[in-house]
Symmetry: C2
Subunit: 117 residues, 2 copies
């Protein structure tokens, strides 16, 4: 276990709004227990290397690498190469934007009425 670099997300632009297609793409990336557990492994803003992530899954290295690719392409993880290793960290702003978009799908009646009809 190597010394972790600072959080990877710090210099990325914050995510504000999401389209329906983007929501579906993010949901698809989350649609597997192994991928949820991988995200759960991340503590706060601390990046992790693939080897450690693999060690905490009961799956082949190639399978975990594939799950990481899926999470990365959905912008739920950010990858930073560091010599032979790759550090991953969670894109919390994307997760939050998705969670907010879900809440908007389920707007409270009272809020809806308050905005004018």
């Amino acid at each position: 276990m190597t010394q972790a670099p600072p959080c990877c997300e710090e210099n990325l632009p914050p995510v504000l709004v999401i389209t329906v297609d983007e929501m579906a793409a993010i949901a698809k990336a989350l649609a597997h227990p192994a991928r949820i557990r991988i995200l759960e492994q991340f503590d706060e803003c601390v990046p992790r290397v693939v080897g450690d992530i693999v060690a905490d899954c009961r799956l082949a290295q190639s399978t975990v690498s594939e799950h990481l690719r899926i999470l990365r392409e959905a912008n739920l993880l950010f990858a930073r190469k560091d010599g032979p290793r790759t550090w991953y960290c969670v894109r919390r702003s994307v997760l939050h934007a998705f969670s907010r978009a879900l809440d908007d799908l389920a707007i409270e009646p009272v809020l809806h009425q308050a905005s004018g009809h």
Copy 2:
């Protein structure tokens, strides 16, 4: 368009916590643009019949019925039969529980530190 009955969710118990497998199952149900759009169709707490939902999708009746089944089995929709029709409405508490669980995946560092390490 028939007169809608009162909200279907009113007498269902609220959803509090979700397991990893349940999160993945909900995400899988959300992992298709057509299903997100179906949820978007619902206004506040107003139930809808299948015919109206089909009319707002560009998909065959059988395809929409299948999407509704998937949303229903993930507890994102609740169905109530009324004569030859079926009224659907959104289970907002499930959507909210899922959204909260996602936020927990992305706990802010400051909150995490405040709870003791």
